[in-house]
């Protein structure tokens, strides 16, 4: 079982005719994801993949024709904000944005706007959702995870695959893997994902994958100590990263000491989270 998405999720691909959009539509279809439509402005009425998926000009017309209830976005970065606004205005409950390189101020406005909408956003700059054996929305390779009871949430992309693969090698299965993305301003965060895993009857423990920058891991640690009953294992990337290039005084004043890998690790350890020293150590920490 899974959080966020399952076999019944009816998915739209925004930017379906681009290289990456088309490649990953094919990959998702191979995983039996229920892709009901694609959206590319100006190409409505056409089809992709030999008549498998119809193309619409707008998200709303795609929803009207197919009853879609989620979308995944592959449009170029300069169109990301518009694509999210369009999906939110059409009241899609779930939007997963894969595109990387979105201007930060665009995302700040999007984020603020979403407070007044029903849409739950994941990303941008994220690998998406994989519920092994059920569905995949995004670009996580389907063959590196099997169904199971471990929830995975990560700020990283490929690092997440590394950990899924390590779990799979030992036959350990995953309920849902959520890549929330590494951008400074983004949709769903660690805490909201942890809440979903905490209340999911099919998730027994959670793997949290963080990295340097920001204070999300610290906030997640607070949440874990107050609310989580399920065990959490974490890996934080960037212990060896040199102190970042100075970004003016403002950056230093805002960040203070949060953002360092050591700070995050200490905070998580203090609330009983086991920390892996390298990704492939995670399966052992879960077993013990």
């Amino acid at each position: 079982m899974s959080i966020l998405a399952n076999q019944d999720t009816r998915l739209i691909v925004q930017g379906i005719t681009g290289n990456e959009g088309l490649f990953h539509t094919e990959q998702m279809l191979l995983y039996k994801t229920n892709i009901v439509a694609g959206v590319t402005p100006g190409k409505g009425g056409g089809w992709v993949l030999n008549g498998k998926v119809p193309i619409f000009d707008t998200v709303q017309t795609a929803i009207d024709a197919t009853g879609a209830n989620a979308s995944v976005i592959f449009v170029p970065a300069k169109y990301t904000a518009d694509a999210i606004y369009e999906a939110a205005d059409a009241d899609l409950p779930l939007v997963v944005c894969i595109t990387e390189g979105t201007p930060i101020q665009d995302m700040m406005r999007v984020k603020q706007y979403l407070h007044s909408r029903k849409t739950r956003l994941i990303g941008p700059n994220c690998p998406g959702i994989l519920s092994p054996g059920e569905t995949k929305i995004g670009i996580i390779p389907g063959n590196i995870a099997v169904p199971g009871n471990i929830g995975v949430v990560s700020r990283s992309g490929t690092l997440t695959y590394e950990i899924l693969y390590a779990l799979q090698q030992l036959g350990m299965g995953v309920s849902t893997c959520v890549g929330i993305g590494g951008d400074p301003v983004k949709g769903m965060g660690f805490i909201e994902t942890l809440e979903l895993f905490e209340s999911d009857p099919h998730t027994d423990c959670v793997v949290l994958i963080g990295e340097i920058g920001g204070n999300e891991e610290e906030l997640a640690a607070d949440y874990i100590s107050r609310r989580m009953t399920k065990p959490v294992v974490a890996y934080i990337a960037g212990v060896s990263a040199p102190p970042g290039k100075r970004m003016g005084h403002a950056g230093a004043i805002i960040d203070g000491l949060s953002g360092l890998a050591e700070t995050k690790i200490k905070k998580l350890e203090s609330v009983g989270v086991k920390i892996a020293q390298y990704p492939e150590q995670i399966p052992n920490l879960i077993k013990n």
């Binding site: 700020r155 997440t160 970004m247």
Partner: protein
């Protein structure tokens, strides 16, 4: 993308933020000439994209035209934190009665723009932030409705600003906000914003960092990038969409994804090795891009082995393998190259690498161990 002070000040001027009279010079003769034009005392300021210029002696007050020439000669011949000074800004000297700190920056904690102001402006602002944080006023701005007039008054009151300065101060913040939004800045900072002995507000220094992701809609600003101030390998990397940061170890890393690149560096260090760089080839890596990444790593003579860790998602492993092959055929590295490919099309990728002298590894741990062993042998 970080702008020089003189570039930032030219943007300030464009938005109506008062700055001292002054111009940029690349020779001492020019500096002297500007000093003569300005008449009185001038400040000679090195233009480099690193902090701590003042403490390194890169900012001098000249009390005569002759001194202006002398100091410009000195500063143009010096290095600040290893970066040679190529230009100086020659500004009229200003008599200061009060220093204010003012900035607007992207704040990832609130996910909104954050305006900060303090009556304790100047070089010690970070110290102030730690010791007396209550002296720094912080206000988030709703990105959809923007900066409102009441917020200007709120800030002026909270930094104890005399009422007679509210209007010019408000105009400066408003202009700074417009600049921040219209130029897609991640940080705009005035430190200090001074009140002069003549009761005028002037931005004595200027710091602007622009969002690289938004440069596509600011081609004029993108042209301000100073390639002289960046490491050539980093510039070369950017051409191909490769993020490269040089470190001082001897194991070159070629990885897709920032998180995995850091994890790869971390495990090398954990096993007793030293990473030579951070390198992220990003998503959708083409042969061309991987080959460029290879050349960049090999341009560092300290590199004794290369660890290539690619976990395919959006990146296709067969593409990566082709890139590795074309790069090794071209560059013919004489050092061990350890390769690990997993993910989309990875079987095809590994098949393409069969029969070459690349060392294949099946796990990240094994790959890192091999790389560390290789570099230890070199040392012996």
């Amino acid at each position: 993308m970080r702008l020089h002070e003189y570039q930032s000040k030219s943007l300030f001027a464009r938005y109506g933020i008062p700055i001292p009279k002054g111009r940029i010079a690349s020779s001492a003769t020019e500096a002297k000439q500007i000093s003569e034009e300005l008449g009185g005392n001038v400040v000679i300021k090195s233009q480099v994209l690193v902090g701590g210029r003042g403490k390194a002696g890169g900012i001098r007050l000249a009390k005569s035209h002759k001194e202006a020439e002398e100091y410009a000669t000195e500063i143009l011949g010096m290095e600040v934190k290893g970066i040679p000074v190529r230009k100086v800004l020659v500004d009229e000297a200003i008599s200061i009665s009060k220093e204010i700190y003012l900035s607007i920056a992207n704040d990832r904690n609130s996910q909104k723009p954050l305006l900060m102001a303090s009556r304790a402006g100047g070089v010690d602002i970070e110290e102030t932030a730690i010791r007396t944080p209550e002296k720094i006023i912080k206000r988030t701005i709703d990105p959809l409705i923007g900066l409102r007039d009441y917020q200007l008054r709120d800030i002026a009151i909270n930094i104890d600003l005399n009422r007679k300065f509210w209007k010019p101060f408000g105009e400066i913040i408003t202009a700074l906000w417009r600049l921040y939004v219209e130029c897609d800045a991640t940080i705009v900072e005035i430190n200090p914003l001074v009140i002069t002995a003549e009761d005028k507000l002037v931005a004595l220094d200027a710091k602007i960092i622009l969002d690289d992701n938004a440069l596509f809609r600011h081609t004029d600003l993108a042209e301000m990038r100073d390639l002289d101030d960046e490491a050539p390998a980093e510039v070369e990397g950017r051409k191909f969409g490769v993020v490269f940061i040089k470190l001082d170890g001897n194991i070159g890393c070629l990885v897709n994804g920032a998180g995995l690149a850091m994890a790869t560096m971390d495990i090398i260090k954990l096993l007793g090795g030293k990473p030579a760089n951070f390198l992220d080839i990003g998503g959708g890596a083409s042969s061309e891009k991987v080959a460029a990444a290879f050349r960049i790593i090999l341009s560092d003579p300290n590199v004794k082995a290369i660890l290539l860790n690619v976990f395919g998602g959006i990146t296709r492993c067969d593409e990566v393998a082709k890139g590795i092959l074309s790069a090794t055929n071209l560059v013919k590295p004489k050092i061990p190259v350890i390769v690990r490919l997993v993910g989309t099309n990875h079987e095809e990728g590994m098949r393409l690498l069969d029969g070459t002298n690349l060392i294949a590894a099946s796990s990240l741990y094994q790959a890192a161990k091999l790389a560390v062993e290789q570099t230890c042998e070199v040392v012996q």
